[in-house]
């Protein structure tokens, strides 16, 4: 079925057109983004169980962007009355004028930016989904998750709790200017199992998830993840601490995705180029990785949790080749940064929700596959680790530093997995070294969308990332 576009948003269209017309009397450019995204979330553990409708991306509201004298300003509201756009226009003008007065008192200079183009464009995209969160069979879903939690508890004597989460969101967004009228509707879902284990005062958490474009039907695959969540948690209870040092490493597709995201995701967000915050700006058309490294970014390059048709500034979605054969080709860009840099926007202008500002943000960030088999990769390692399970990551685009925290490393000696596990593992290093040392790339790859991404320590958005198994050298602690 197609995910139907919001009737509520359709009902706003005449009023929003009038609002744009009114504001254009005072401003040189006016756009509106209205959202109506509904969701469901079910969380079942042995000790608490709840159902709700609020996910990370559910929202209903409108943000208005206006431009005058080189400055862009925005106003977010959630009580827009399509019968009375005059009062919204009055509220917007009055507030922005009050802000302008404060800025005048502060003698604030404006970082002048050109006017966004407003080429005519009109489309409606309703993506395929198996079902909608609004129509989910909650009774069955609760039963399924409770079954997973109960079964998990029976799988190890060290289980303290087993948490099964499922959430699904039906995104509907409307973008309008004088000449643009874009509508999109799609559904994404994600679920996870967290196995919490404890022994002798030591706690460990095994984790596994599913994600993708589509509705609650995706949760059928969640049961398959239980065994890994529990068994990896048990392995971590028995794990040793790693001896810090530099090792040959093989990253699983999930860890490869984390590297893609942290290394050349944040590092080529071009709003950072505007601020002079990213080393990537100086490395366009230069070698940043081995010849085996090719990486794509864009809402169109995978079908996952952030595969939209247009971004939050009304730019159609893209698929950018960021790194081609180890050469950094380009970055990703929101519309205002593109104006300032004199480049084309890539469809990566995203907001946490309508209340938040647009920044250049990632969508799907993925390494291309190669020609090696995992078996050959393991066989080639003298002493190193197969890194598995993602916990978190952090980048430093100014210096291409990277920090990845992964759940565990499986020891490899003389080309064979020894069965010894170390946990947890922190991988740090210099991005060009990490990518430059990639010597083998597997044929298969995975894409994962269970994570969220912040800009600094805020502005959380959904992203997905992934890739194949990669063999490189990394500093582990």
């Amino acid at each position: 079925m197609k995910a139907p576009f919001s009737k509520y948003l359709d009902s706003l269209v005449p009023g929003l057109r009038r609002l744009i017309g009114i504001l254009e009397q005072d401003y040189d450019y006016v756009s509106v983004l209205s959202t109506d995204s509904k969701g469901l979330i079910v969380r079942i553990s042995q000790h608490s169980k709840s159902v709700g409708n609020k996910t990370m991306t559910t929202e209903r509201g409108t943000v208005v962007r206006v431009y005058k004298d080189g400055l862009y300003s925005e106003y977010a509201l959630d009580r827009f009355d399509p019968e009375d756009p005059e009062s919204a226009a009055g509220e917007i003008r009055e507030t922005l004028e009050a802000q302008a007065e404060v800025l005048r008192r502060c003698s604030a200079e404006v970082f002048e930016t050109g006017k966004l183009s407003d080429e005519p464009l009109e489309f409606l995209v309703e993506k395929e989904t198996g079902s909608l969160p609004e129509e989910a069979d909650l009774s069955s879903l609760v039963e399924q998750l409770a079954g997973i939690s109960d079964k998990g508890m029976s799988m190890s004597e060290y289980m303290l709790d087993c948490i099964a989460n499922a959430q699904s969101t039906h995104i509907c967004k409307l973008f309008m200017t004088k000449n643009r009228y874009l509508r999109q509707s799609y559904v994404y879902s994600e679920g996870n199992v967290a196995a919490i284990l404890g022994r002798d005062g030591q706690n460990r958490i095994g984790y596994a998830g599913v994600s993708g474009l589509g509705g609650p039907e995706l949760f059928e695959k969640l049961s398959e993840k239980l065994e890994y969540a529990v068994s990896s948690g048990v392995e971590m209870l028995d794990a040793d601490r790693i001896v810090p040092g530099e090792y040959e490493i093989i990253t699983t597709p999930e860890v490869s995705g984390l590297i893609a995201h942290e290394a050349f995701g944040h590092g080529v967000e071009m709003d950072m180029f505007v601020k002079g915050r990213a080393l990537g700006a100086e490395y366009i058309d230069r070698q940043v990785g081995s010849g085996l490294v090719t990486m794509h970014e864009g809402a169109l390059c995978a079908e996952n949790v952030t595969s939209y048709a247009f971004d939050d500034e009304g730019t159609p979605a893209g698929d950018v080749t960021e790194i081609d054969g180890g050469i950094l080709k380009t970055g990703i860009c929101d519309a205002l940064s593109a104006l300032r840099l004199g480049v084309q926007p890539t469809g990566n202008g995203k907001r946490e929700n309508f209340e938040h500002k647009v920044y250049t943000r990632m969508t799907n960030t993925i390494f291309d596959s190669g020609t090696d088999s995992l078996e050959d990769m393991i066989a080639s390692v003298q002493h190193g680790y197969l890194l598995e399970g993602v916990q978190s990551g952090m980048e430093d685009p100014k210096h291409w530093g990277i920090q990845c925290i992964v759940q565990m490393g499986r020891e490899i000696r003389d080309g064979k997995l020894t069965g010894k596990v170390v946990s947890p593992v922190i991988m740090t290093g210099y991005v060009p070294d990490l990518l430059g040392n990639i010597t083998m790339v597997s044929t298969d790859r995975g894409v994962f969308g269970n994570g969220g991404c912040g800009k600094g320590h805020k502005e959380w958005v959904k992203v997905s990332d992934g890739g194949p198994y990669l063999k490189t050298v990394g500093r582990l602690g």
Partner: protein, 425 residues
């Protein structure tokens, strides 16, 4: 509209219910260098409905919640409420009693107007003294006025107003063609110009030192000193261990009256929940479930005195007077900050992302700037490598300075010394 929500929830068949209506007016200013990149404002309202449904035999309690838009029709709200009652009937929790009304004095709700507060922040940031080589790359200012009303079926009806603010800041330091940056996110209650200036000047000095930093040597078991906001995560680990949810799940083994470790050789830790902490963005009188927040000693000299948490988990461990902690403090230790900086140690002031896992106690962080004090007293700025370890190995040996310092909603010792962490250079 609140009357309408109350009427609908009263008649929807729920055994109990809560309505939370949060209104926020916010102003935001984004600067690149000293120039205004963008200004923004918001006027938004978030309405959350929560219903509770007892099973027919009274042995289980279902919970379901939904956010409804302020533009939702009466028909839509009614449908949402009925749907919530059905959803709640699907999940079975151990029953517990909801909070009952309790009157406490609300803080003075007279807040500085948004315009005046925003002007104070902008002028403070504009007034930061820069040099040719250390300067502000970009900053973002967020100023909010929040009002929250909580109404419940148990008779709670509370309206609280409080201010919040945030500064997102990047500073640069440059020498010839080499430039570095440091990042901070300050969570604040209101504009305190002197404190902001002091914090940013400290950051600019860190930037200058990072330019000179050598690679972190292999130090392995050298003691680590934390003297910036990263240390908050160390103490949050202890606070989490006192949370009722952690006790119910079995991930905390804390017991009232029993020391958290044997043979404690370092400083013993005392943690207090605070109703109010000057400058905090969390100065409100009631928690989100309507329980009054009060000053309370939670752990004294490393001995748990009182557990805290939300209503559900608190009731599950038999607490009837608990609350969700908003502000908290950790008392200082026996030595001064200078005394803790004796001998060989690595003082880490900047991490990429320092973490202390509240469930496992694992410690991680990539070092962006640290000062290595060797046995001869020489101080060398270093960068790179990582620190890792476990809180379980540090509880009995960590030391805290007498002096304290506030970060957001927590006041902690200004210097914390960890003896058992591994430094990978």
């Amino acid at each position: 509209m609140m009357d309408k929500y109350i009427e609908i929830l009263k008649s929807c068949g729920a055994d109990a219910w809560e309505i939370t209506d949060t209104k926020t007016r916010g102003w935001e200013f984004y600067f690149i260098g000293r120039r205004l990149d963008q200004n923004r404002a918001k006027n938004v309202e978030h309405i959350n409905l929560k219903v509770y449904k007892l099973s027919e035999d009274g042995k289980s309690l279902g919970i379901a919640s939904a956010e409804v838009s302020p533009t939702e029709s009466e028909e839509g709200i009614r449908a949402a409420a009925e749907s919530l009652v059905y959803q709640a009937s699907l999940v079975k929790n151990r029953p517990y009693k909801l909070n009952q009304p309790q009157q406490v004095k609300l803080p003075d709700a007279e807040l500085n107007p948004l315009a005046a507060e925003a002007e104070g922040f902008i002028k403070t940031l504009q007034g930061i003294e820069e040099t040719e080589t250390e300067y502000l790359n970009s900053f973002e200012i967020f100023v909010n006025r929040n009002e929250k009303r909580l109404v419940t079926s148990e008779g709670i009806d509370i309206t609280q107003s409080w201010p919040t603010a945030m500064i997102d800041l990047v500073v640069n330091a440059r020498k010839d063609n080499h430039e570095i940056e440091l990042y901070r996110l300050y969570d604040l209650g209101s504009c305190e110009p002197d404190q902001i200036r002091q914090d940013i000047q400290e950051l600019l000095q860190f930037g200058k030192d990072r330019l000179l930093a050598a690679g972190t040597p292999k130090l392995e078991n050298t003691p680590v000193v934390l003297s910036t906001d990263a240390a908050v995560y160390v103490y949050q680990y202890f606070l989490s261990q006192l949370n009722a949810a952690y006790l119910v799940r079995g991930v905390s083994s804390c017991e009232i009256g029993k020391p958290i470790a044997e043979n404690i050789e370092g400083d013993r830790i005392t943690i207090k929940a605070l109703r109010e902490l000057p400058g905090s963005p969390c100065n409100y009188a009631y928690d989100e479930e309507g329980a009054p927040i009060r000053d309370e000693i939670l752990m004294e000299e490393s001995v748990p005195k009182k557990f805290v948490g939300n209503r559900m988990f608190s009731q599950y461990i038999g607490l009837d007077d608990s609350f969700i902690v908003s502000n908290w403090s950790v008392s200082g230790g026996r030595k001064s900050a200078d005394e803790l900086r004796e001998g060989e140690f690595l003082e880490i002031v900047e991490f990429s992302d320092f973490q202390v896992d509240s469930m496992t106690g694992d410690i991680f962080g990539e070092i962006r700037l640290a000062y290595y004090h060797d046995t001869k007293g020489t101080v060398t700025p270093v960068s790179g490598g990582s620190v890792s370890g476990s809180m379980l190995d540090n509880i009995a040996h960590m030391q805290m300075s007498k002096e304290t310092r506030r970060y957001s909603n927590a006041e902690i010792p200004s210097v914390t010394r960890l003896e058992n962490v591994v430094i990978a250079g």
